[in-house]
């Protein structure tokens, strides 16, 4: 059987199917888009994408397809080449599945929006950019996809452009992503000048030591795009966008682009211990910081956003352990349950007529049974409950962490974050689903619409079986650690259970509390570590101050006024004013003394 031909054809067919809603309206006035056509196109693309994925899983066929070539200068060729390998096929299927469910959900969520078709086409453009990024075989194409997802993120976060918060959040996202782009362009420039190619195949078999500069650039790019600590504030702020946007971009696909970049270029990192340790420590810090901030949040979407940020930190930690395949596994499983969590929160928000504060929800278990059951499944998967999807990736990561020779600080931070994950997830579940209702009595609560139920249950099914499916069919690239002491093997479980116990205790204690007392730790957590006011105000203040000092004070005032032309004139004036009193004008006396000296002269001679 000609597997290569079949692989290529089905891959191209998938990509063409997903491009169709973008291209057809340009050809004829009658073929306009509608939400339904876009959903159908995505569903068809998903089903077609299963063909190359199955082919890859069963035969291991890798492929690189090169089409056209941009010849910018004679010895630097940039072909338009797509790589079909484990990462791109699995990601393609996962992303298309998740997008299909999200689009179906969005046709219910955004039904009151007059520009719903534009919304759907934005989401589709985003998906195309993301697929370009993942199937790219050279850095140029990856950069195109990278910028594409950044721009679409800006447009989608600021969808409700009448809100100032949405506009500032969109701007914040673009600015932080741009700082990361500096790193990406730096590494691309280094790679172009040192290795004369942007092809992955030429860069990667670099088993000798790589210089740290391009790796730092790549890490900076990942920090910006994947919201690691330092460039993280845009991710919680991005929750200003509609829930389908949060579900698609800021949980499953866009934010993993940074990690995906590091996965694609991981052979460059293998021998450079500095870069690996940097990834490790940065990831550990991000995961703990985000988990700490999530503990005291009261907005559902912000809790899930911080949860995403924390999981991204965990993926970065995995890269720092030199395990890119495991990071990719976590990306795939995380996409399912995180998207489902967002969709459930979207359903809850709409059913409560716009209420996003979990302190004003309660007892939804009986009122929205399907949504809340899937919310519970998602939270359990996030916590790493055995044999759900999250378990296969998260437990493996923790096991590898515990059995590797690494930084103890990074290890302890990650373990603490694992415990916190359980805590905030359970807090969210308890406050939303159990207890007496704290919402207003009149709510348009109705979840009996198949457009909501089907996507959520589909994703729930995915959250349950994906872990098992992927680990069964993918050949691991490194040997998993098989022997370790019992307490290390069950470390993740024990930490999760301790987090659960903590959450239950705290919720029992604070059950009737109306306002929590303020102390240092609570303030630190709820104001997100004071990071936002400090950096946002300090940096712009210092920059503008320096600018004013140089241009206005230094140049205009001191050089032109005090030292330049006017200063010279002032100096002359002072000298004149000082010497005027000396001219007293006693001419007769002077002439008399003159005559006296002449007479004396005559007398002497």
């Amino acid at each position: 059987m000609k597997t290569t031909l079949l692989l290529n054809t089905s891959m191209l067919l998938t990509l063409l199917l997903i491009l169709t809603p973008m291209l057809l309206p340009l050809l004829s006035k009658k073929l306009q888009n509608s939400p339904t056509t876009i959903i159908q196109a995505t569903k068809a693309a998903f089903l077609t994408s299963l063909v190359p994925t199955m082919l890859f899983l069963f035969t291991g066929t890798d492929n690189i397809t090169s089409y056209w070539e941009w010849s910018l200068i004679t010895n630097f060729k940039i072909p338009l080449s797509l790589k079909i390998d484990q990462y791109s096929t699995l990601f393609l299927s996962t992303a298309l599945f998740v997008t299909w469910s999200i689009l179906q959900f969005a046709s219910w969520y955004m039904i009151a929006d007059p520009h719903i078709t534009k919304f759907f086409s934005y989401l589709l453009t985003f998906l195309i950019a993301m697929l370009i990024l993942t199937t790219a075989n050279n850095m140029f194409l990856l950069f195109i996809g990278w910028e594409g997802v950044g721009i679409m993120s800006f447009l989608l976060i600021g969808w409700w452009q009448g809100r100032t918060e949405a506009n500032t959040a969109a701007l914040q996202a673009v600015l932080y992503n741009r700082i990361g782009d500096i790193g990406l362009i730096l590494s691309m420039a280094w790679l172009a000048s040192t290795t004369n190619s942007w092809d992955m195949q030429q860069l990667l078999p670099n088993t000798t030591e790589t210089s740290t500069l391009p790796l730092l650039g790549l890490i900076l790019a990942a920090t910006g795009k994947s919201a690691q600590f330092g460039l993280h504030p845009w991710l919680p702020a991005a929750m200003e966008g509609p829930t389908p946007v949060s579900a698609l971009l800021h949980s499953s696909t866009m934010v993993v682009a940074g990690i995906f970049l590091l996965i694609r270029t991981h052979p460059l990192f293998t021998n450079n211990q500095i870069a690996l340790t940097l990834c490790l420590c940065l990831g550990a810090l991000s995961t703990l910081f985000a988990a700490t901030c999530a503990l005291t949040q009261n907005d559902i979407k912000k809790i899930i956003a911080f949860s995403t940020s924390s999981q991204l930190g965990l993926m970065m930690v995995t890269i720092g352990l030199n395990l890119p395949q495991l990071a990719f596994l976590h990306i795939s499983t995380h996409a399912f349950f995180k998207a489902m969590l967002f969709l459930c929160s979207g359903s809850i928000i709409h059913n409560l007529n716009g209420e996003q504060d979990i302190r004003k929800m309660g007892g939804l278990q009986k009122m929205l049974p399907t949504t809340t059951s899937c919310l519970t499944i998602g939270n359990l998967a996030l916590m790493g409950t055995p044999f759900l999807a999250g378990f296969y990736s998260k437990d493996l990561i923790i096991e590898n962490l515990n059995t590797s020779h690494l930084n103890a600080w990074a290890l302890s931070l990650t373990l603490m974050a694992t415990a916190f994950t359980a805590t905030y997830s359970l807090r969210m579940t308890i406050l939303i689903q159990t207890g007496q209702t704290r919402m207003s009595p009149i709510t348009p609560m109705n979840e009996n619409n198949p457009t909501i139920i089907n996507p959520i249950t589909r994703l729930a099914l995915g959250s349950i079986i994906t872990g098992l499916l992927i680990t069964t069919y993918i050949t691991p690239m490194h040997t998993t650690p098989t022997t370790m002491p019992t307490y290390i093997k069950s470390a993740a479980m024990l930490l999760t259970i301790s987090g659960i116990i903590l959450a239950i205790e705290l919720s029992n204690m604070t059950h009737t509390l109306t306002q929590p007392k303020q102390n240092t730790l609570l303030n630190f957590s709820s104001s997100l570590g004071y990071f936002n006011p400090l950096t946002h105000r300090l940096s712009s203040l210092s920059l503008l101050n320096t600018g004013q000092k140089i241009s206005s004070h230094l140049i205009d005032l001191s050089w032109y006024k005090k030292m330049g032309p006017e200063g010279l004139a002032a100096m002359q004036l002072t000298a004149t004013k000082t010497s005027t009193p000396f001219h007293t004008g006693l001419i007769k006396t002077y002439l008399g003394s003159f005559a006296l000296s002449i007479i004396l002269l005559l007398l002497i001679h």
Binding site: K588, L591, G592, F594, A595, I598, I599, L601, L602, H605
Partner: protein, 72 residues
């Protein structure tokens, strides 16, 4: 002293006293100044001849230049 020395020495003395005492018209002061300069010029012209130092020949011209600047 010789006749030459007497002539420019007395010219210098009388012109200086005239500069000091005749104060009614400023033009008289100017004329006296010019005659002082004239006497100095004559003295300086005979100086290189009397003392056999040809290098001082330039002096009278310099004095004229500076005095012209001073008067003008």
């Amino acid at each position: 002293m010789s006749l030459l020395h007497l002539s420019f020495y007395s010219t210098f003395a009388i012109s200086s006293l005239g500069l000091a005492f005749h104060r009614a018209h400023l033009i008289s002061a100017l004329l006296c100044l010019e005659s002082i300069i004239l006497s100095i010029y004559i003295a300086l012209s005979t100086l290189p001849i009397e003392n056999q130092t040809p290098s001082l020949t330039l002096m009278p011209i310099l004095i004229l230049a500076f005095s012209a600047c001073e008067a003008g």
